[in-house]
Symmetry: C2
Subunit: 654 residues, 2 copies
């Protein structure tokens, strides 16, 4: 009985603090917090093995709050425990005063879970719904990989479980037998605008989870003993058991009748209403706790962590890898698709760095991550995600939070499926590597449903802001040949932060050699001229190379820059533009607002007078059987480039 | 017996044509087609009521091929039937020669379903997986709305059903009782890289669908009678029945043993292998068809269509609507959030135009689509999608294909969730209206998980290419006040094509009045000066307005343009820049590569010498309690703007 009384007492204290925090902020979701008071109390004060003064301790159990808007209930526990908060290496115990600073611009406690702003307990930023269970799966994969016996608890809203990604994660957890993850569905029956659909009722969720092969426990989410017992049952499960899920029936605004029912989502109480809610909660506390708690609630520490990390080896060079893996024919032919060079690089880096892991969405034989997956020494670090991209990126975020270096791979077109997840991963500070193959229009035959076209614009936008480390929030990389793809894959693995790299379907000729050094923010000059600067990326570097010949015949001496990185060294590029009379032509095989626009932005900041023309895909493409045909269709064939370049200089006969 | 023989014969003929088409193209997915030969034959030659010479006839049953890579099997049937193909109003019977042009640059038959390139049978472009069932749901909603008794068949791959969006659609169909939709799961057990997961096996899919309350029929997908009977059972269902789903166990590469098993995904046979596959199929045909088909297969026509469409009325003006709907207090106060003006406009347009429909993802009380939803005369055209954005946009695409004008509404941040679906809708030519609320950083307290920041860059990229009608593939609209939001909502409804509009959380003052005319591609001049051109959008127009005062005090006479549309009239803007000594400062509250970059692109094309500086969000934001605090945090407060503007002109004391 005293465990129950202790949990009720604590839960109500936390609920009351949530009411005050949200009242202080003038916004927030106190009623959602109140539906979670008991679950969070049992987790943080009893079940989870963790260290309040070291909330990211490597061996500790983890909590992912997928329904991020309920975060004040966690902050309340931290304030109560004096658990550690703070940015970077600065850490100090959280106080009640901190709690009352909820959502302040200089507060460590943001409106939604935000580990990079001073609340390191969380592994990932949440608040855009449906992503947490995938993050939890990533944490569990990393723990298994590191041989750590961690449990990962994930709280999901019932309304939130409408997001298809939740079910992608449910399938993924089952496929990979991640029995260390416990999905906890908080069934309080209310969404924002109204009650949840019958398709997300506690009963339907139970049936859906059972259909997916889960063992499901349904409990009253305000019954301390039932919660404790469910968690104990979960902790006691064998490693080869089927996954388990918990359905917790809860009350939104539990303990304060005046805040229950529709219309209370995302609304703090104030004034008389706040006082009434406090009184009701206090009365609930008295009615439920015949004896006071004493010290019945005890937090157990995790196992001591002994680091097993070793410094990565120096990976093989491209030539060494080509020789080692029986690709000497291609090496001699001087031609290799960048997607293959990426697969080769992954394999080489995988051997050199045990933290590198690879994820793919059922296209590993097209993206060439299969060269990593099929290597028996690496296979246990390859995670097949099947056709479910959203889940893949959030699993990557979880793996990154646990110190892994995840490369997430699929067609560049399908990366779009996970843009929200990728942005949340970036907000989380995740060291995520995103690689999209079959990029641009050069895949030709499959048509626009498989072509990535606004991708550069989107990732470029992320590159214009700085992350919490002061670096671009994302680097955009577009290797034009196999050496570049191989080198940039290595660079991505060595760099801490998000990167997006595009690889290409067609076989392309080597442009570089072992002596070329590729780096974030740099570019390569392939031809030095003085009349016109051609700036190209990816496949279009090859088209521009061909255009150079025609231009040369027309007496035009053009410079060709392979701008493989965004952002790039703008001063260095402008110097070259200056040497070419400030005539610039940019060429890319995606929609506008992308690389060419980035070059234009760099130029306009200089204040010099120049001419810049951009060539890009200006119509929705379609299928074509060859690269040449689709390039002509989009006006990006090398003859189009030569013609445009000549016309910029007033030369017509090209 | 003769029905069965006829189906086998026809299915094998179509399978064989698929083999030849893919061989001719040198790519494609013949084995997937062969798994669907019988299902497609029964559908197109027996079950569906449609007109081969009028494949988009309004009352005809519809087929959505969600696993778009199987499209040659449909093309084969069209070639066999001489069904109509062609772009726009040009129509002619398809021939076998057309079939052999698969994936040619000048062919009507693209690598994946692509209605805008000359194959009007399809309502939506598919090929990016997981979207078709949502499109089917949209078609069914429209049919119900129009009082049409249409059946919508949707073929989904088993591997594809890993996409969470499929399960969002399953829930949506149940919520809205769309019993006219039949999801058909093609369970051939193979994905691309390997076999499908146990989580997508025929048995597990059956359990999942039953858990979702569906009546599920499992059949051999190569048994003509079983297929026919299942479809008849579906057609016979009452309007108030639970939804039904079909699990069809099929064989990838059916009928040709030499093309079965792993390793045959997306690969055409050629040479000897092609001949062997043909021989095996022919042998299969002989063994299965003791009697020849005769004319047993007959296509039934749909009901005759009688148009009930009427011309929309002239909608109310903003002032009229404010008065009619009891908002005179706000009207007098001269202040209204743009999200509310949008909700008001929807309500007014809803009354004027019966084709306008509205979708929202559980945030209608924040986006103010509830003003449409709660109007009893409009409620039957409001579709609550719950927290599942991907499904919402594809449902919108289906509604648009059936002639509706769908407004899809949620927070701008969560629109990201559906970018792939939106791009596919644009490829489909869908008349889709996308509205994102709480845009930019002005929502402040909730923090970055609820802020849209790279959204303008992404939609702007789509605006740089033309759609199949020759218009920008998407317009980007950012109203700064209630008049603009109201007017632009009307403009969106009147325009045929995709538009993205951002609305704002805070209440903002009126900048305009009834005499202001808003239009796609236009902008407004709010202040005419001569020293400097300030170009702003959305909330930042108000900050710039405040900055004007400080600049005026410092003796700087600045022009202020509200650039509410991308693309915009570049010549007109450059004229104004010219009148301001080519000094331009752009101000927006999202990441870069966006509006400012579009202005820079317009300037660079002019070739004039100018100075342009861009102010945008250059760090990942966080929570703050007020708009002013978050603006300061991001360096976008009006004092920051005034300081930057002054410094551009060499004035320091602002």
């Amino acid at each position: 009985m005293s465990f129950e009384a202790a949990v009720h007492t604590k839960a109500i204290q936390l609920d009351q603090l949530c009411l005050d925090m949200c009242a202080s902020a003038g916004s927030g979701h106190p009623t959602t917090c109140m539906s979670l008071g008991h679950l969070v109390t049992v987790l943080l004060y009893h079940t989870m093995r963790w260290l309040p003064d070291h909330p990211r301790y490597p061996t500790s159990d983890r909590l992912v709050l997928s329904e991020g808007h309920a975060v004040p209930i966690i902050y309340a526990a931290f304030a109560d425990l004096g658990a550690a908060i703070g940015k970077g290496t600065e850490r100090r115990p959280m106080t009640r005063e901190d709690a009352m600073s909820l959502r302040e611009v200089d507060s460590y406690i943001d409106g939604h879970p935000n580990p990079m702003e001073g609340f390191p307990f969380f592994d990932a930023a949440t608040g855009s719904l449906g992503q947490g269970l995938s993050v939890a799966a990533g944490l569990a994969l990393a723990a298994r990989n590191d041989g750590l016996d961690k449990r990962i608890y994930c709280i999901i809203g019932d309304g939130e479980s409408r997001e298809g990604q939740i079910w992608e994660a449910i399938d993924f957890i089952s496929d990979h037998k991640l029995v260390g993850v416990l999905p906890i569905f908080n069934c309080n029956a209310y969404g924002q605008a109204s009650t949840v659909s019958d398709m997300q009722s506690a009963d339907t969720l139970r049936r859906k989870l059972e259909a997916a092969g889960y063992e499901v426990k349904s409990i009253d989410g305000h019954d301390p003993a039932a919660i404790r017992d469910a968690f104990e049952a979960f902790r006691a499960r064998e490693a080869d058991a089927t996954p388990m899920a918990l359905i917790a029936r809860t009350v939104k605004g539990w303990g304060a009748a005046c805040m229950q029912g529709g219309g209370w989502h995302g609304k703090p109480a104030s004034g008389d209403k706040l006082q009434l809610a406090h009184e009701e909660l206090s009365a609930t506390s008295v009615s439920l706790t015949s004896a006071l708690a004493g010290d019945e609630l005890r937090i157990y520490p995790p196992d001591e962590h002994t680091s097993t990390r070793t410094e990565p080896d120096e990976p093989m060079t491209f030539t060494e890898a080509m020789k080692k893996y029986d690709m000497e024919t291609a090496l001699r032919a001087g031609k290799l698709a960048t997607r293959k060079a990426f697969g080769l690089a992954l394999r080489a880096i995988g051997h050199a760095n045990p933290e590198v892991v690879v994820l793919d969405a059922d296209v590993r034989n097209s993206t060439f991550t299969e060269w990593f997956a099929n290597d028996k020494d690496l296979a246990n670090r390859f995670y097949e995600c099947k056709i479910a991209e959203q889940n893949m990126y959030s699993v990557g975020a979880g793996l990154a939070a646990a110190g892994k270096i995840p490369f997430c791979s699929t067609f560049a077109k399908f990366v779009t499926r996970g843009y929200d997840q990728i942005e949340m991963a970036i907000n989380s500070g995740a060291n995520l590597k995103i690689v999209g193959s079959h990029a641009g229009i050069s895949l030709a035959a499959d048509g626009p449903s498989q072509m990535s076209l606004p991708d550069i614009a989107w990732f470029r936008s992320l590159s214009t802001c700085t992350d919490h480390r002061g670096n671009p929030a994302c680097y955009v990389l577009q290797p034009a040949d196999a050496f570049a793809a191989y080198g940039l894959t290595q660079v991505m693995a060595e760099y801490t932060g998000a990167c997006y790299m595009r690889t290409l379907r067609p076989e392309v000729e080597f442009l570089y050699n072992e002596s070329t050094v590729f780096n974030l923010g740099k570019f390569e000059v392939l031809n030095e001229g003085r009349d016109l600067l051609l700036v190209a990326t990816g496949y279009m570097v090859h088209e521009c190379n061909k255009a150079l010949e025609a231009l040369d015949k027309a007496g035009i001496d053009a410079t060709l820059v392979d701008l493989y990185s965004i952002p790039f060294d703008a001063d260095a590029l402008l110097d070259i533009a200056n040497q070419n009379n400030w005539h610039i032509l940019t060429v890319e095989d995606n929609y506008g607002g992308s690389m060419g626009s980035a070059v234009a932005d760099a130029c306009t900041e200089s204040g010099d007078a120049f001419t810049i023309e951009q060539m890009y895909v200006r119509r929705i493409p379609k299928s074509a059987r060859t690269e040449d045909e689709i390039l002509k269709y989009c006006g990006l064939h090398h003859t189009d480039i030569a013609r445009k370049a000549a016309s910029m200089l007033g030369v017509v006969a090209v």
